[in-house]
Symmetry: D2
Subunit: 323 residues, 4 copies
Amino acid sequence: MRAAYAELRVSDLAVSESFYVDLLGLVVSARTDDALYLRGWEERVHHSLVLRRADPVGVERLAFRVRSNADLDLLEADFARRGCVTRRVDGDHPGMGVALRVWDPFGVPLEFFHEIDRFETQLQRFDLQRGAPVMRMDHFNLHSPKVEEWFAFWLELGFRCTEYISTDGEDERITGAWLTRKPTVHDVAFTAGRGPRLHHLGFYVAEPGGVLRACDQLAAGGFAPAIERGPGRHGVSNAFFVYLRDPDGHRIELYACDYYTGDPDLEPLRWSVSDIRCRSFWGARAPDSWYDESSLLLGPDGAVTPTFDANVDERTARSEVMA
Amino acid sequence: MRAAYAELRVSDLAVSESFYVDLLGLVVSARTDDALYLRGWEERVHHSLVLRRADPVGVERLAFRVRSNADLDLLEADFARRGCVTRRVDGDHPGMGVALRVWDPFGVPLEFFHEIDRFETQLQRFDLQRGAPVMRMDHFNLHSPKVEEWFAFWLELGFRCTEYISTDGEDERITGAWLTRKPTVHDVAFTAGRGPRLHHLGFYVAEPGGVLRACDQLAAGGFAPAIERGPGRHGVSNAFFVYLRDPDGHRIELYACDYYTGDPDLEPLRWSVSDIRCRSFWGARAPDSWYDESSLLLGPDGAVTPTFDANVDERTARSEVMA
Amino acid sequence: MRAAYAELRVSDLAVSESFYVDLLGLVVSARTDDALYLRGWEERVHHSLVLRRADPVGVERLAFRVRSNADLDLLEADFARRGCVTRRVDGDHPGMGVALRVWDPFGVPLEFFHEIDRFETQLQRFDLQRGAPVMRMDHFNLHSPKVEEWFAFWLELGFRCTEYISTDGEDERITGAWLTRKPTVHDVAFTAGRGPRLHHLGFYVAEPGGVLRACDQLAAGGFAPAIERGPGRHGVSNAFFVYLRDPDGHRIELYACDYYTGDPDLEPLRWSVSDIRCRSFWGARAPDSWYDESSLLLGPDGAVTPTFDANVDERTARSEVMA
Amino acid sequence: MRAAYAELRVSDLAVSESFYVDLLGLVVSARTDDALYLRGWEERVHHSLVLRRADPVGVERLAFRVRSNADLDLLEADFARRGCVTRRVDGDHPGMGVALRVWDPFGVPLEFFHEIDRFETQLQRFDLQRGAPVMRMDHFNLHSPKVEEWFAFWLELGFRCTEYISTDGEDERITGAWLTRKPTVHDVAFTAGRGPRLHHLGFYVAEPGGVLRACDQLAAGGFAPAIERGPGRHGVSNAFFVYLRDPDGHRIELYACDYYTGDPDLEPLRWSVSDIRCRSFWGARAPDSWYDESSLLLGPDGAVTPTFDANVDERTARSEVMA
């Protein structure tokens, strides 16, 4: 139904809390000895981000909400048929019931669930709000070594493509794809790059001014080096964005300016990889770290999932076109 | 699936164009001798507002998009079963195919359709954009003499309630309801008042600053009297709003700040009619005209649909509580 | 040189602190048993607002900064020549030295001073900032029973007029005047009304979005009734404003959007009293309280200064024109 | 009194007009065969930017307004005493009278004038405004090979320093200085770099959102390569900025967020050259072009003024500190 929460392993909960709660302003829903459960201002679900102190640092799971527990059975059967590891869990987190963990054919640690407790929204507790106006967790963006195979897989799961980047010419190759269940630009996206890795978590901010306020507050609080790229405008998705690196290097996008994609005959918007506006509408070059670095994923055994180089490289593809 | 377009009868197309196109900045998709077809900046469908010069002035139809033409058959049967007038049309408008017109049990002129041409979005043609950043038509808001009966009817049609206002005490009466298909606060809403009438069309604006710019431009262009209420914040829906009256008195809401409502277990948010924050979070009183005046609807015969007083009055209900 | 600080008597310091510090976000520079010294985020001077618990509630002084202590002698002589009460004080407040208190010919309690301690600016401590982005105290706005006599007096003091409102026709009467020393629209303004009274203190906010945030936070914190008028746009001064009433009824304007007035040949901008845009560019009517209510001033003896009806009434003048 | 207008030589007036008028939204005050006279939305003076088609491209003059024509005599004597070329002109431009042109001791082509025609402000003609909300020309920023000598010279001219950058340690060297007459952060600034050259003209924009809109519109209009740096926040001056290169490479800063500097005892704010926040509060590195490229100045003979390397280099100074 939609991207719902991510669980990230971090090395120091107190430092992470300072970043996510004190500066970015996420709301604390619960805390345990080794974990922090956070949500955005408008969110009513128990959490959309779980930070757990654990070693090695990496991505424990990317969770999607489904309409009912019955959907878990269908998904379990489907993933088992594909030969994926599946695992039923119950009560892994405060505020949640049963859930289905799976490692997809490419090694991405997914979770599907329906049951989750609800809180009152903090949307109108403007007097309590601090930091950036982070409304809700919105999407997962992954680095994929095989974009086209991933693309086919996610379409089979029932996602729709809203925008994509591809090479020009006869031998068209897709180098990035944005897919969605809820009617925004995306719930999940993947772009060509060494992977599987998590490129970033996207958080929706109420307006561009909120993205700027986040930058000001981070810098004033001594976290300026956390600002990796932006603020700026993406061509793809029209997002007004800034990319941050949390204290463990996990990348966070704060973005504003989405659009409605719910019409069934929506045609995916194609961007040529040679059009620099697709990544940066205003033309600013992203730093190499933004292309090269991503968070490692954790496998069923708790170890880091091996990564592979992409079979097509966006920067190379672009350079070839431009050369 | 969602509220899609409204057709309003107006008395002078040139004056209406000056208001909707020159000042508000809507994009002209097509024009005929007696009609103007408009859409917002992000919209890809052919039109979300049709202005037709015709007498008497009023609301010709409120149209919802459905997933496929097959849904039209189901809806036709359902409305016929209720004893409603239904009418198949084909090509009533440029860019559209078959559609189902119906007058609902309370006299509201609805239309359901699937087929509509698409345009390229103007979302990123920032250089061409003028006026307020009006992204898309979002919802219809009606005055209803029988809110609770309407409420039951729209739930049966498959809409979900996101927020409502009701009286306090044992004899709870609903005085307003916000219902939706797409995962925003509403596609349709109705509040107690002489009706059936159209209270307003809601247009989504990218950010609060865009609402302010619209006010500045309207006033500078000599349309200050068109600003009826606001800008301000609603408690219900969290909208940052301004209400305008077009040259024929049709009411337009420009609003920013919506929230995601797609989760299936979303519980409707209740507001007490005695809580003045539900209508005006900042406490400013709405003018009487905002409560009393609305656009008349047109029946199957082209004549104005008779209206009736509401069986419960929000202002009275509130006053009683406060007295 | 410029309007510098106001001292207001309040009835309950804790309640006032909750309003000015917790919700509006002013910075506390110092506190004594019976007083609170506040400043805005960009201000380097010790204080721009002094709140003192004292009875009766009212305005203790409106203070202007001068270039040097020598100017105090010139001013003392000038006011003495006019028969005004003058009084030298030293160290009335923490962070200040000698100052000249005077009661002007119309009973307004003024102060002139040069010496004041400086703090580091908090302009870029974005991480500490709360509430509205209140940058600095900007101006005093008074109700005057004799606008034209006051106007002549302030011009003699060396202020320049930037904008004014006057009646139409041969018998032109000035009903409001905006005067300045620093090159913004005003340091002091007075409009026709029962007086002498203080209509409001104006605080400069960085941008319109900050004014909106202040409203949201006040309402969420239970202070919605404090919002008396707006937000809206003034024709005069171009200010994007909201008017608040503090817990004792003292009126505060938060405003954004000023303009540069430093050129010596700047011609005052005239507004006709019959042009409703001068007070409300968007046409919204101000509530009667905004015209009728103001803070009382305190005389040399600590008693409330008597007030008189205005010799010309803006609303009447306007109505006559419009009738 | 204040920085008033710049005259730039450009290679193609039509292309320049497309950039400055169609996209940035400056108002055309007058046009002649070979020149275009522009002003910002709030400006009442005839022009604040003159674009003249002429060869070679460069900076013809940087003009300051003075209080009266009598000041021209004083300035003429002062510059003559320093051995500078001075020249009286009359009616060089439409809307202007007598003026004093001088080439300062370092080769910068200055002009001082008092007489200039006034227009009605366009501040509230929101309906006519296009592009970025460019309010007024604000300051000149120069590359100087000898910052400390220039600094002494401008202090002698009567400017006050608001902020500066200097090296750490015993042998403190000033590498940048911001000076002002009007009470904002600056009318003129110079930083160490090959010079004398004009680094940029600064235009004041009403709010950060306006800077973002300018970027969106430039990019949509095909001018994305014109965006050289930003948007971002300066530590120095607190400006929220974007730097553009016009079609001839002249650099324009659009900025919001200034502060009041009128108090006579304002102490200059020092930034260490080793603090990267002084140039980029959020930490983003400026491109080399921003440090290296600037507009050439034109001498009394119409030829390009020779340039020299700086005697101290900010980047080197910073690197040494950081090494």
